[in-house]
Amino acid sequence: MAKKQRGKSASSTKTADIKQQTDHFSLMLESSDDEGPEEVTFEDSKAEALRSMKQALDTARREKEQLKEKRRKRQELFQEQKKRKLLPADVLEEIDSAPSKMQKQCQEEADEEQQEAEEDQQRKKKRKRSGKLAHARNLKGNYTVQTAKERDSASFQQQAAEDFLQSRMYGPGSCRTTSNELLSLQNKTGRNKSAAVQFVKKDWACNEKAKAEKLKKRWVHKQQIPSC
């Protein structure tokens, strides 16, 4: 009996093996329950184990390669789509020049141009501003808020006390909003109702207005190109 089994298992494939083995087992079970288990030699089982491991590694590698292939194809597809989506180069140039003009205008209105003599001080001022913004907190959207209080403090204790005050007044859980919203609410609920402040005042929210201009130009161009 055992010899027959060995011969069979050596020649057939794995699935056939399993099937045959199970068949055999079931046959065995059916025929005689009180017989001992089959003997399988060490070499056979070693070969069996090695084969199954090799096959597992093979399938894993194949799967990885398949996945890579899929990903590459997807990436290519996206690139193509993006190329298709981008507008022709000349329109892009036009769009880029328009908002930068607007921003420049806003900047000019906001702070006047400087002479060469105090360019250093101007740079220092800009650097100082970026330093201040580091302590800012985002409240709603892209609006940042910082306290008007000076943050220079001599000692660690003073800084800690100021931080405590800052966190109690403006920290989490303090339910704060922006000056823009406060003024806009006043505009909307006042006697002569008008729009929110960023639309009423010309030099407010320059960045948002520039973005809106860009989007508008893009949309207009899209409408003009026949859809493909």
Binding site: V145, S179, L182, L183, T189
Partner: protein, 683 residues
């Protein structure tokens, strides 16, 4: 009348700082105000709420509390120091380190002998008030949390201290903490955060009133240490409390900008059961109210929106009178803009730097009311940052634009401007006497600099390129110890007029370098003075809006001034609530006086009749609609223009064009820190 080309300047980015603390001295009727940058201001409530004195701030002097001890002013801040101020020389007199970490609060007992400060490390430190200084006496029992607020019992035996999550009552003699009152935390999300007792008041019947960060005003019995009543006033914090002298009214300031009043009244007719009942709510601020003072007749509040609001209580003053009007002080009562008339330059004074701008040009022509096209835009020439920690106290620009000077409380600097005002060179050799000044003024020919120094004296310094030389010190005969806050040099270089906080106006003869005359003292403080170049008459405007004209040659009031005093000024002029900060003259027409306050600028034509009490005061619009010949019949001397708001400076240049520096309050509000978010229905 006159047609002027107007330079409308709106690039002065003046930003006032938030009000942090205030203290009212009822005997002298002065309010001391501390701002977040360390600057101190003194307002005279008896003199139409005029801002008498300003002590500039200092980097790192984060003032948290103020306290009057008689006539002396003390402040304490997060830098751990107690500072006494010299109000005659407008500077700190000395500082005492408390060695307890940042100081949160300061309070004086009713006898005026002991000063208590509450520190970060949990100690209440007692200082003895001595003649020229204060001396540390002892610490009370040290506590585990920081002491945020303090209040003495009127008898001077007990102190209540507001801390985190609790209130402690100390016995001032033994120093032991006798009671501990536990304050409930807020509901919901704030239950995990400690509640901060921001302010506390100890009344004479041993009642303690506390305001905390959970928005409650709680009434406690200080004898038994139990809670009597809780009033939930706001969803945010109650930041400040103040009680009136007779302890019948209490006000609480919140983060929403509201001020809530509680009154000690009985709900039924009989006088027996009086209790603290919430009565009025005032919403005069858009941002947090951090400082409150309760005077006899009004509630004074200030906070993050930088405005000082005085709200008279209608049960203490007569309704619908000038006294009962709401007063708001938004812009300073002194000029921060200097205009160089010949060069067309403007100097803006900020606490930490100075900006020099050149005005733009336009050669268009148009009808009144038109905007002319700008040929050359205004440009910023120089931004000069100050050296050192002290903030800039005063600054001046010479009329030719060649000299620039500024002073702090410890230093004085003079600069020479060259190359068409672009290069700046510091003048290094300065006279020894010139160490710091309260007010600066250049002579019109830019040959002399006048600096007001201690005790109403003025130092005269001669300017010769490239150095300056000390010439003389001008001293008044009255021996006044108050500082000079106004200086004006006449066009012909002959006279110098000074005004000090004692309401004295002195005129010096610059040729002889001695006192020429003293204008009779008027009870109100002068807010602007100027000398007419053609007639040599001194025009002085005072805080109560009175105008006087004094002839320097004849040393007496002029005919026009007497006529004005006899008839009296129009009631609408007297009811204005901001002072005149600058007086200018028109060289083409010597009868014109140009004045301005925050809301209007006015040209007084001395050749026209004065307005009667019943004539319409603001009649410019009606006059314009009338035909030419009829106008002269109806016009009066005061011509007021309200087209430009809110004014910081109105000046006349040499080329007969007006410069109007505006700082709309909306631009200030837009840059304030975040207010609380209030959900309103339908928004």
């Amino acid at each position: 009348m006159g047609e002027f080309k107007v330079h409308r300047v709106r690039f002065f980015d003046y930003m006032p700082t938030a009000i942090r603390a205030m203290a009212f001295n009822s005997r002298t009727e002065r309010l001391a105000l501390a701002r977040a940058d360390g600057a101190l201001e003194i307002f005279n409530f008896a003199d139409n709420y005029f801002q008498e004195k300003v002590i500039p701030g200092q980097d790192g002097r984060a003032v948290e509390a103020l306290c009057w001890v008689g006539q002396r002013l003390f402040s304490a801040g997060l830098n751990g120091e107690i500072t006494e101020y010299d109000l005659e020389n407008l500077r700190p007199r000395y500082t005492v380190e408390a060695y307890g970490g940042p100081i949160w609060t300061i309070s004086i007992n009713s006898q005026g002998t002991l000063l208590a400060v509450g520190c970060e490390d949990g100690t209440v430190k007692m200082f003895e008030i001595l003649e020229e200084r204060i001396q540390f006496q002892r610490n009370l029992d040290r506590q585990k949390g920081r002491i945020i607020s303090l209040s003495w019992h009127p008898s001077g035996t007990l102190i209540a201290a507001g801390m985190m999550d609790m209130i402690r009552i100390f016995d001032a003699e033994t120093g032991r903490a006798t009671h501990r009152l536990l304050v409930e935390r807020g509901v919901g999300a704030s239950k995990s955060r400690e509640v901060v007792v921001w302010s506390i008041v100890f009344l004479s019947d041993h009642t303690i009133v506390s305001g905390d960060s959970a928005g409650k005003v709680q009434i406690w019995d200080g004898v038994t240490g139990t809670l009597v009543r809780t009033h939930l006033v706001t969803k945010w914090d109650v930041l400040a409390l103040s009680v009136s002298k007779d302890e019948s009214s209490l006000v609480a300031g919140t983060s929403e900008g509201t001020v809530v009043q509680f009154q000690f009244i009985s709900s039924t007719v009989d006088q027996q059961d009086k209790e603290w009942v919430r009565t009025r709510t005032f919403k005069n601020h858009s941002h947090d109210v951090r400082a409150l003072a309760h005077t006899e007749t009004a509630v004074v509040s200030g906070g993050m929106d930088t405005q000082l609001v005085v709200r008279p209580l209608l049960d203490k003053v007569e309704k619908n009178t000038q006294e009962s009007a709401l007063r708001k002080m938004s812009l300073p009562h002194r000029s921060l803009v200097c205009c160089a008339k010949k060069a067309g330059l403007l100097l803006f004074q900020f606490p930490d730097h100075l900006e020099l701008w050149r005005l733009g040009e336009s050669d268009g022509h148009g009808k009144p009311g038109d905007s002319l096209p700008v040929k050359r835009k205004p440009e910023k020439l120089i931004q000069l940052k100050r050296k050192g920690e002290d903030h800039i106290c005063c600054s001046a620009l010479s009329p030719c634009g060649g000299w620039l000077a500024y002073s702090t409380v410890t230093s004085f600097r003079l600069y020479r401007l060259q190359n068409n005002n672009i290069s700046v060179t510091k003048v290094s050799k300065l006279p020894k006497d010139l160490r710091s000044a309260h007010q600066l003024c250049f002579s019109p020919d830019s040959s002399k600099l006048f600096a007001s120094s201690s005790h109403s004296s003025v130092i005269v310094v001669g300017l010769n390129q490239p150095e300056c030389k000390y010439l003389h010190t001008l001293k008044p005969k009255s021996g006044s110890r108050q500082p000079v806050h106004l200086l004006f040099a006449s066009e012909d270089g002959k006279w110098l007029a000074t005004a000090n906080a004692d309401c004295e106006i002195h005129v010096y003869n610059l040729d002889k370098l001695k006192l020429h005359c003293t204008v009779p003292v008027y009870s109100s403080c002068p807010t602007a003075i100027a000398i007419n170049p053609t007639t040599s008459n001194l025009v002085a405007v005072h805080a109560d809006q009175q105008i006087f004209e004094f002839s320097l040659v004849q040393k007496e009031y002029t005919e026009w001034s007497r006529k004005l005093q006899k008839q009296g000024l129009h009631s609408l002029w007297l009811e204005r609530d901001t002072p005149i900060t600058r007086v200018a003259f028109n060289p083409k027409n010597p009868a014109h006086i140009i004045l301005h306050d925050m809301f209007m600028f006015c040209i007084i034509d001395q050749s026209l009749p004065l307005p009667e009490a019943k004539t319409p005061f603001y009649n410019q619009m009606t006059l314009r609609s009338l035909p030419e010949p009829q106008r002269l019949v109806h016009s009066h001397a005061f011509k007021i223009c309200k087209n430009f708001q809110h004014l910081m400076c109105v000046s006349l240049l040499e080329d007969h064009s007006l410069v109007v520096v505006e700082r709309p309050l909306l631009n200030i509000t837009s840059q304030l820190p975040a207010p609380v978010r209030q959900k309103k229905f339908a928004t």
